[in-house]
């Protein structure tokens, strides 16, 4: 029995005797298999237990939109003349020290009346490229795929499905504040709006 347990013993193998049976009775073999399976199960259980915190860690950024947003100031009201659209910058409210310049975010402020504002995201509603404002023709144009918007943010032409994204705003002690903190995309800002076929009367205002 002792020798036969080694597979190196060719003599035994070629003689047609199965080493498994000579190495002992079936009970020993099945006990080894049982231990083996138990070991697998143990590792599986530990793996499962570990998977929970790992997934929790990986999914950490997956949070409610609102939890990322907070009110930031764009500056004093008189920086924004009535009837004009101005580029404004703010610092991302949840900035980290290693963000570098990426937490400077730009937006367009249009003052429609003394207490009436519209604050547009810089990001084109098509694919997020930075739109540029042309005061002469009162149009926003996107350099990427040629999306164009009117001064009120509604879609003028090109591939965007809707008008420019807007931020909620409020006035706090002569300061314009907006509810900001995340990149505006189709999933977190007002949902899709049907495109009107007549130009100039798009119903979407964000």
């Amino acid at each position: 029995m002792s020798n036969a347990a080694y597979p190196a013993n060719r003599q035994e193998k070629t003689s047609g005797v199965n080493p498994a049976t000579t190495s002992g009775d079936a009970r020993i073999v099945s006990r080894r298999w049982l231990l083996f399976k138990a070991a697998i199960a143990l590792n599986g259980a530990v793996g499962l237990v570990l998977a929970v915190p790992i997934f929790r860690y990986l999914l950490a950024p997956w949070r409610k939109d609102a939890s990322y947003e907070s009110w930031v100031s764009l500056g004093a009201l008189d920086e924004f003349p009535v009837g004009e659209t101005r580029l404004a910058n703010y610092k991302n409210p949840s900035a980290d020290p290693w963000d570098g310049q990426t937490d400077n975010v730009a937006c367009y402020v249009r003052r429609e009346g003394p207490g009436e504002f519209k604050v547009f995201a810089i990001n084109c509603a098509h694919l997020g490229c930075p739109v540029r404002w042309f005061p002469q023709s009162q149009l926003f144009m996107c350099p990427c795929h040629g999306g164009v918007y009117y001064a009120d943010g509604s879609r003028a032409s090109g591939p965007p499905e809707r008008g420019l994204f807007t931020y909620n705003w409020k006035i706090v002690s002569d300061n314009l504040q907006i509810d900001a903190g995340q990149m505006p995309t189709l999933s977190n800002t007002a949902k899709l709006v049907t495109i009107s076929t007549r130009p100039g009367d798009s119903k979407c205002s964000g």
């Binding site: 949840s94 963000d99 310049q101 930075p130 042309f134 023709s137 350099p143 903190g181 189709l186 999933s187």
Partner: protein, 509 residues
């Protein structure tokens, strides 16, 4: 001499006794392959393999200096470019190596497809290959992000915008992609981890399995019209072929692989030397909006598609077509595991490859010229050709000023300069009557914004009077026939009145 040789052999034997690599290596190197596979057509896979190692090697060298922090990555790239001796060359090698690798992987795939090499028993080799292609593209995209400049920043924005279109979980996916609510430090950190650990690790594992199967299953035999693959008989036929008309893999076929790999490495080096590194472009500051973001070469075709899709089709297209394409590629060997390998008997396959190649070429070319993008500074930078306004009336000149100032030029070229978003207006007056032009300007339509609210009536009048002058000297402007009749009858009426007046006059004695 003799003794030295003996010592060398002894040392070799010492190692071999412990490593025991001689057997497997000899088996891999000397296995018989069909004679015709020792062809220049079969060199692309090994070239891709070589390029992968060039990328790993140059990537590690770059990582010695690169700082994966959103605050410093851009500066560290500039230090590599300008301060570290030959840092620019290493960046150029890595950048060009990437382009070559994507290109070679695509060519390899086309070759393997045309030679029917995905058929039984090499289905899994193909399926792993599809994942290798995806990972290579993934490396190219994440690499573009690590070159943390404006293009990288807005490229991420495009990625996030695409992600956000996924129903229900879009916003969560955007957060996962960016590592937070906006593109910031966390974004670069996770793309660094993807580019340096996750994707290359998986890539190496898959490459190992891919090559392992190539060695175990043998190089695909040269397709012969009429030699049909059948599961039941193929293995036997292949081994028969490899042994009756075969040669050992090394050196018979391998020398060509070596030559080609060397040539490709040399080509990468020459490109790196001559054309230099890619970027970095402007600094990744999102408040600098004077930028025209553009993806890297191999993603330009997607950029083009995104500009031509009708708005309503975009989201379904973006979400469905890539998955469908990958599913088709993965299913191909399972569906078509048997049958003819030769391209002479597979016209559809040839058609598919040539169609894809032509589409890729055309879309990429359009992506380099981006005719759909307004030229942001054409209105102020491209003056009207003088001969266009030389003989113009004061009103038309006034219109020319409106034309420039209202950014019409950003989308419309005159005299060969200006945007190409809308049609060139050099001869617009021969196509449209003045009323039609007025209507177009006021109401827009078909990618032309409506200017009705932004122009005063007098500006519009001046503008269309200018547009009316835009026709070749020998071609009269278009006119409205009914309008002419009206004008003619008006003229006739007034003439009639005049003559009757005169008649009256005449009748007075």
């Amino acid at each position: 001499m003799q003794r030295m040789k003996q010592t060398a052999l002894d040392i070799y034997a010492w190692f071999e006794r412990r490593l025991q690599l001689e057997g497997p290596v000899k088996e891999a190197v000397l296995h018989q392959v069909p004679r015709q596979t020792a062809s220049w057509w079969y060199v692309f896979g090994s070239a891709a393999f070589t390029l992968l190692f060039l990328q790993i090697f140059t990537g590690i060298l770059l990582a010695l200096v690169y700082v994966p922090s959103a605050g410093h990555a851009w500066q560290s790239l500039n230090v590599l470019n300008h301060q570290i001796p030959l840092g620019w060359f290493l960046r150029a090698l890595h950048g060009w190596g990437s382009n070559f690798m994507v290109a070679i992987v695509l060519i390899h795939m086309a070759q393997v497809f045309l030679f029917g090499a995905y058929k039984f028993p090499r289905e899994l080799t193909w399926i792993l290959g599809v994942f290798l292609l995806l990972m290579t593209l993934g490396m190219a995209f994440t690499g573009q992000v690590l070159r943390f400049d404006q293009d990288a920043y807005w490229g991420l924005g495009i990625g996030a915008s695409i992600m956000s279109r996924v129903p229900w979980i879009g916003s969560g996916l955007v957060h996962l992609l960016l590592g937070g609510p906006i593109i910031a430090g966390a974004t670069l950190s996770r793309f660094f981890a993807l580019h340096v650990f996750v994707i290359p690790g998986t890539l190496l594992l898959f490459v190992f399995l891919h090559v392992w199967m190539v060695l175990k299953l043998g190089v695909n035999d040269w397709p012969m019209p009429g030699r049909v693959v059948r599961r039941a008989t193929y293995m036997e036929e292949y081994h028969h072929l490899a042994h009756t008309d075969g040669i050992p893999f090394v050196p018979g076929a391998f020398w060509k692989d070596l030559v080609f790999s060397g040539a490709i490495l040399a080509a990468v080096a020459v490109c790196a030397m001559v054309f230099g590194p890619f970027g970095p472009g402007g600094q990744p500051d999102p408040s600098i909006i004077q930028t025209v973001p553009k993806p890297d070469f191999f993603f330009l075709w997607i950029y083009t598609i995104l500009s031509y899709l009708p708005p309503q089709m975009e989201t379904p297209f973006l979400l469905i077509v890539p998955l469908l394409a990958i599913a088709i590629l993965l299913a191909l060997p399972l569906v078509a595991a048997e049958g003819e390998k030769s391209w002479y008997r597979r016209p559809v396959a040839v058609l598919v490859v040539s169609t894809v190649a032509v589409c890729f070429g055309v879309l990429t070319h359009l992506g380099t010229t981006t005719p759909w993008s307004p030229h942001m500074s054409a209105w102020s930078g491209d003056p009207l050709p003088v001969n266009r306004i030389h003989d113009a009336t004061p009103l038309a000149r006034q219109g020319a000023v409106v034309f420039q100032a209202k950014q019409c030029r950003n989308c419309h070229s005159v005299g060969g300069s200006g945007g190409e978003r809308g049609p060139a207006l050099d001869a617009v007056a021969t196509r449209l009557t003045i009323d039609q032009m007025r209507f177009k300007v006021v109401t827009g339509g078909g990618n032309m914004p409506a200017y009705g609210k932004n122009l005063s009536p007098s500006e519009i009048e001046a503008l269309v009077r200018f547009l009316e002058t835009l026709h070749p000297a020998n071609e009269p402007p278009a006119y409205d026939a009914s309008r002419r009749t009206v004008e003619a009858s008006q003229a006739a009426d007034s003439a009639g009145e005049a003559s009757s007046l005169r008649a009256n006059e005449g009748s007075t004695p």
